[in-house]
Amino acid sequence: MGAFEAVILTIITASTPLLLAAIGELVTERSGVLNLGVEGMMIMGAVCGFAAAYTSQSAMLGVAAGLIAGVGMSLLFAFLTQTLMTSQVATGLSLTLLGLGLSGLIGEAFTGLPGIKLAALDIPFLSDIPFIGPILFGHDILVYASLAITAGAAYVLFRTRLGLIITAVGGNHHSAHALGYNVIRVRYGCIAFGGGCSGLAGAYLSLAYTPQWIENMSSGRGWIALALVVFSTWLPGRVLIGAYLFGAVWIMGLYVQALGVAIPAQLLSSLPYLVTIVALIIISGNKTLTKVNTPACIGQPFAPER
């Protein structure tokens, strides 16, 4: 395998969890809900995915467990913010703190155990084509799932009535309610979708990216996914591009170190975070770009009168 090929492969692995979490959060935010608990849902997906896979010796069961953990966490968030009308910002933060604590507790028994790696889908002939084969056809199911979910989300948001309803609910919940749409129910759905995607992103970390359980292994990826949604101005295509750009930045540090360049390792490790800040500055400074697509109701609670 050539070095270039290896770089591209690692970029894909580094980008996939970001893409999964970000596309889920994008749909959640499109419905007018800001869920800052991505990091917590992701880490719970990682630990539950690993635990289930290790216990059952089946990576696919691990993926399912990660998905369920993410959805479960997000439903907690949904119940508090949508039914009990709590602050979305504070509740999202608490979801992250709870997820980090709970995952540490659950994961304690699994620390240092050998992992179950999610196998690559081996497509006969196609995977064997030199260069193109491994890059296009040599991945595990979650890599393809991340791309399919992104394409599916774009299709639903822009080509279907359901997407129109989600955008309407996020754009003006009072109007949507007046027309007879159930704002809370649409939001519950979008929150659960976002939670599921975050759970899958976590499962990818502990089953494919580094197949083992390490405490706090999401290391801020959930937060970067949140920044990616802003960076994408709520457009799925741009989330895809952004996730791969950030994946590349994440990987760059490792390769530069391997090349023996005299840059402190810590500086390279902090690159993804610094790049995130720079990206936020660039995109937030452009008002027309952000204003047009920003869901107008984002973060605002909605209580229908009865």
């Binding site: 009535r161 129109l164 009072h174 109007s175 697509n293 107008a296 009865r306």
Partner: protein, 514 residues
């Protein structure tokens, strides 16, 4: 139980309870096909609650609806639309970020073909004289155009009953006339119209029947053609409303508020920029700025108050002193006072008690509410006591949270808080918007009294009745440009309507001078 087949819609003994409030208390209403039926009442009388029940947005606590003689349950707005009930909301149910077609599709059944919808929209809208571009973004449209979307949205479903909530509040007189033509055509085609308004002249003009509510109860059902505007008003309010004493023609003094070459670019993609505004308000007079909502009124208020200072000091002068660059606190220290349009969240902090809301605007001016950076709570409570007594603010406890007051009482507080200082300059945006008649009369009288005592008062209002009642001179704002201010007695509704539609823009030929 069944209803009478001659009626399109009957609502019998409708009761709706919110917590401790009986918003609708045993209300009965009936309406025939082809009839334009007025639903009258003050703010808070229960009109909106009743129509929301008919449209399925709310469920009645008790009572029964009949549709063409059959008892029905309208579970949600979708069910109402299936019956043939359409509604045009007062505050619109539109989505700024979506196109006209998308907005309309959201109110149609799921099986509607979006591909051909644009063509149908343009056909129907042209047919009824309500032209619309199907691919336009709602955010880019005027208030009048937005209302057209709402109406066309109903028309596409071939409604049997059309509910209209205060439709003319946001229209120029000419646009309102166009709307009446549309409504009369619909009625002649057999469609019933339930028409909510507080403009009694137009009710007399187009409505065949009227149901009047007060404090959630049915007061009476009358033939508006047999009533006068005054008798309808008495039925609505339940008492004679004290007429406002104007005694116009007093002497005016030197200009206390002067705006010259006031321009302000917008910082919001959906906002309105102010262009080269000229105006002087003299001691002893009330000048009113009329205009349709969304033509730059709030930007104008922000610029005059100093919430958004301008780059050039000379654009705003208070008592002859240039202060365009000063912020709102500095302008208050020049003995100016301001009342914004939104009571809740702009003029007052909803979660704060009234005494703290006194601090909101009094902290920078003499009176001892704040000194050396510390707040004197006792002084603030004292101001609150004076204001609420003077302006008859009714409240359950001495110092309740602002949000617990009714609209009229909170508006009296917000206006009274500024009046208590006897400012030399007062700028008020929509002084009686959404306020009951008693509170409105009290506020208008207070504005007039302040002017007669030598202050300069600038009122921004969408309510033409109010403007004619209190203003000495009238200017009109349209797309961020302000017309010359003409003496009120020289102005007619038609002239104001033309100015609202932008007749003064880019040409200063005197419309009212003819």
């Amino acid at each position: 139980m069944s209803g009478s087949a001659e009626y399109l819609l009957e609502a019998r003994n409708i009761v709706k309870v919110f917590g401790e409030l009986r918003a609708n208390d045993d209300i009965t209403l009936s309406l025939k096909p082809g009839e334009i039926h007025a639903l009258l009442g003050e703010n808070g009388a229960g009109k909106s609650t009743l129509v929301k029940i008919i449209y399925g947005s709310l469920q009645a606590t008790s009572g029964q609806l009949f549709w063409q003689g059959q008892p029905v349950t309208v579970a949600n707005p979708g069910a109402a639309r299936d019956l043939g009930i359409g509604m045009v909301f007062q505050h619109f149910s539109l989505f700024d970020a979506l196109t006209v077609t998308q907005n309309i599709a959201l109110a149609l059944p799921p099986d509607v073909d979006i591909g051909t919808l644009a063509g149908r929209i343009e056909t129907v809208s042209n047919d009824y004289g309500l032209p619309l571009r199907a691919d336009a973004l709602v955010a880019d449209l005027s208030v009048g155009e937005r209302q057209r979307i709402e109406i066309v949205r109903c028309l596409l479903q071939e409604p049997r009953l059309l509910i209209m909530d205060e439709p003319t509040a946001v229209l120029t007189p000419q646009e309102a006339n166009q709307l009446f033509v549309t409504l009369e055509r619909l009625a002649s085609e057999g469609c019933g119209v339930l028409y909510i308004s507080h403009r009694l002249e137009e009710v007399k003009r187009i409505c065949h029947d009227a149901t009047i509510l007060r404090h959630g109860k049915l007061v009476s059902r009358v033939d508006p053609q047999q009533e006068t505007a005054a008798s309808l008003a008495n039925l609505m309010v339940g008492a004679e409303v004290a007429a406002v004493k104007t005694d116009r023609g007093g002497k005016t003094g030197k200009p206390l508020l002067e705006l010259s070459g006031l321009s302000l670019p917008t910082d919001d993609p959906f906002g309105v920029a102010l262009k080269d505004i000229e105006l002087a308000v003299h001691a002893g007079e009330i000048v009113a700025v009329a205009g349709v909502a969304g033509n730059g009124q709030s930007e104008f208020f922000d610029a005059v108050s100093g919430e958004r200072p301008t780059a050039n000091a000379a654009t705003v002068k208070i008592s002859g002193q240039a202060c365009g660059k000063e912020n709102i606190t500095q302008r208050r220290r020049r003995d100016a006072a301001f009342v914004p349009e939104e009571r809740i969240g702009h003029g007052a902090v909803p979660d704060f008690p009234l005494s703290e809301n006194v601090v909101l605007t009094h902290h920078a001016v003499a009176g001892g509410v704040a000194r050396h950076g510390m707040i004197n709570r006792a002084a603030a409570r004292e101001v609150n006591r004076e204001v609420t007594q003077l302006f008859d603010v009714r409240k359950g406890t001495p110092d309740p949270e602002a949000r617990s007051l009714s609209g009229g009482n909170l508006q009296k507080f917000v206006v009274g808080r500024e009046m208590a200082r006897q400012p030399k300059v007062l700028v008020v945006n929509q002084p009686t918007w959404g306020v009951d008649a008693g509170a409105a009369a009290l506020i208008r009288q207070a504005l007039i009294d302040l002017a007669r005592n030598g202050s300069a008062v600038l009122v921004i209002s969408q309510d033409l009745d109010e403007i004619f009642e209190i203003a000495d001179r009238i200017a009109v704002i349209s797309r961020g440009e302000l017309s010359e201010a003409y003496p009120a007695e020289d102005m007619s509704l038609e002239q104001i309507g033309l100015l609202m539609a932008g007749a003064h823009e880019k040409s200063t030929s005197g419309v009212a001078g003819s």
